[in-house]
């Protein structure tokens, strides 16, 4: 049997080579939207498009009596999330961050520790998002312009390097505090990730992390779990719900394009991602339980 680690490492090395190429050839932020869209369509969304299969084949996550109950709960969670964003964007963002911290951290620790320590999962995910935001904080202020308490903060006296230092220091203290089986490799991988966050813009940083550190390893683990004859056959199974997710995004865009501007488009994209992420997190929590 092929171990989980054997799938994770190649995926991350592909991401590292891709990221270093972007930095090395000084691609800058002119291609960030294209990189984001390509990664989301080919890796990001597909990794969540087989939840309806994973939820029924994984012995640890057979919590649904029927496919009807699965899809009902899944869609209700998506609708609830959108409702929260509409009623209170602040609460929507807060919930998205909490859920993302846990979800990203949980998959990040695979190969370095068991996923049983929920606080560790959350803290590692929080570290990653903290670094992503801190290393691109001036850009983030422009994106979150509607959150005036944050966007109006005067950070002009601080250099970018100060925020890198803070994120590395917090990471070191987190790694020291927790009992982790392979502490140093986890710290080393996150250091490389922070380097990428520092040198690329926020959208490219997120795309690289989400695509190659999170989604691609998960996609390969799902392929392993589903025992399909070839990766191509497995990938075909991800397509229907990938297309459905894209249609869902386009429908939301169509009904909201009168209020969307170039400034809040990224925020809008994040709302769609958060809506798709919420139910996916619960499925993945059970899926990674024994990894």
């Amino acid at each position: 049997m092929v171990s989980t680690e054997n799938y994770i490492l190649p995926a991350k090395i592909v991401g590292l080579i891709f990221s270093l190429s972007l930095i090395f050839f000084d691609v800058g932020d002119s291609y960030s939207s294209i990189i984001f869209i390509l990664i989301m369509l080919t890796i990001g969304i597909p990794h969540g498009s087989v939840d309806h299969i994973i939820a029924f084949i994984n012995p640890n996550s057979r919590r649904f009596s029927s496919r009807f109950s699965f899809f009902s709960i899944y869609l209700v969670l998506i609708a609830l999330n959108i409702l929260v964003w509409v009623l209170s964007p602040f609460l929507g963002l807060f919930i998205f961050l909490l859920v993302s911290c846990y979800h990203f951290g949980e998959t990040q620790v695979i190969g370095y520790n068991s996923t049983d320590n929920r606080l560790l999962n959350f803290v590692i995910g929080a570290n990653i998002l903290l670094s992503l935001f801190l290393n691109n904080i001036f850009e983030l202020q422009e994106i979150l312009v509607d959150f005036t308490f944050f966007s109006s903060l005067n950070l002009s006296s601080f250099e970018n390097i100060f925020f890198l230092l803070i994120s590395v220091a917090v990471l070191m203290m987190s790694v020291v505090y927790f009992d982790i089986r392979r502490k140093v490799p986890l710290y080393a991988e996150l250091s490389i990730l922070y380097l990428i966050f520092y040198h690329t813009d926020i959208l490219t940083s997120f795309s690289i992390f989400f695509g190659f550190s999170h989604s691609l390893p998960m996609l390969l683990m799902e392929y392993q779990e589903m025992k399909e004859k070839s990766f191509f056959r497995f990938y075909l199974k991800t397509l229907p719900f990938t297309l459905l997710a894209v249609v869902f995004g386009l429908v939301l865009y169509y009904f909201n394009n009168n209020i969307l501007t170039t400034d809040n488009l990224i925020l809008f994209v994040f709302i769609i991602i958060s809506s798709l992420t919420l139910p996916h997190v619960f499925i993945m929590k059970d899926f990674v339980n024994d990894k």
């Binding site: 270093l20 930095i23 090395f24 000084d26 006296s157 601080f158 250099e159 970018n160 390097i161 100060f162 890198l164 230092l165 590395v168 220091a169 070191m172 203290m173 790694v175 020291v176 392979r182 502490k183 140093v184 490799p185 710290y187 080393a188 250091s191 490389i192 922070y194 380097l195 520092y198």
Partner: protein
């Protein structure tokens, strides 16, 4: 050659010794990274993490030296910011090599490097004038460095005491004690260039004294960095092979 020029960006001026040391730094770190990665597959399982960390240290440095060379060649001056990014990411990784070889002391070493880096940066950047750069932040950073040096047993080289990690290093099996001595020399002697550079770069120490000396601190950092980082990895490889 055109392709090479595209990759290298700006060209170094003939006779630019400082720029040349940036170039040498970049390619030597890259070569060391490839070497450590190749050796990663050859060493015993218990040393694999150490070899990987050695490769990451030189890999991170290679990327930043490539940029530093470019910045220097374009006439944008000393690349202090890029140097700090490199140090912030690689110093903790170098420090944990001791813990990887011995299995003890990681918490203290991480804590000491956090204190050293944060207070050193606060002093040099002038962000927190609540303490003076020299006998305030500089002193704290220096104490953190000596705490680290004590912990890993560097002071035993001059007949001083040792911390938990240094003691474990001396008692370890195989070639680890010998490699440990090399690592301790790197920390005690090689790392001395960093506080010297800090003192030269901040007011209150020797900044007035060095102002009149036509000497570029970048050359010292570039050569010192290459020796320290590659040497660190080579010492670990020596223990592992």
């Amino acid at each position: 050659m055109n392709t090479l020029n595209f990759i290298l960006g700006a060209s170094l001026a003939p006779g630019d010794f400082t720029g040349f040391t940036f170039f040498i730094g970049s390619v030597s770190m890259l070569a060391a990274t490839v070497f450590f990665l190749v050796q990663h597959g050859q060493v015993d399982k218990k040393f694999k993490d150490s070899m990987l960390v050695a490769a990451l240290i030189t890999g991170i440095a290679a990327v930043h030296y490539y940029y530093m060379r470019d910045q220097w060649a374009e006439g944008l001056g000393s690349p202090t910011e890029l140097r700090y990014i490199d140090w912030i990411l690689t110093v903790p990784l170098m420090v944990v090599e001791f813990a990887l070889l011995t299995g003890v002391g990681m918490g203290k070493l991480f804590l000491a490097s956090v204190v050293m880096l944060v207070t050193g940066y606060l002093g040099e950047s002038g962000l927190a004038p609540v303490l003076p750069a020299d006998l305030g932040w500089g002193l704290i950073a220096g104490l953190a460095y000596f705490w680290m040096a004590y912990e890993v047993g560097c002071l035993t080289l001059v007949g001083g005491p040792t911390g938990e990690t240094g003691a474990a290093l001396a008692k370890a099996g195989g070639k680890i004690p010998e490699a440990g001595k090399m690592l301790q020399r790197f920390v005690l002697v090689g790392w001395a260039i960093y506080p010297i550079g800090y003192m030269m770069g901040t007011d209150g120490w020797y900044s007035g004294l060095v102002a009149g000396i036509p000497f570029n601190m970048d050359v010292v950092y570039n050569i010192g960095d290459a020796i320290n980082k590659i040497g660190f990895g080579m010492a670990v490889w020596y223990a592992a092979k």
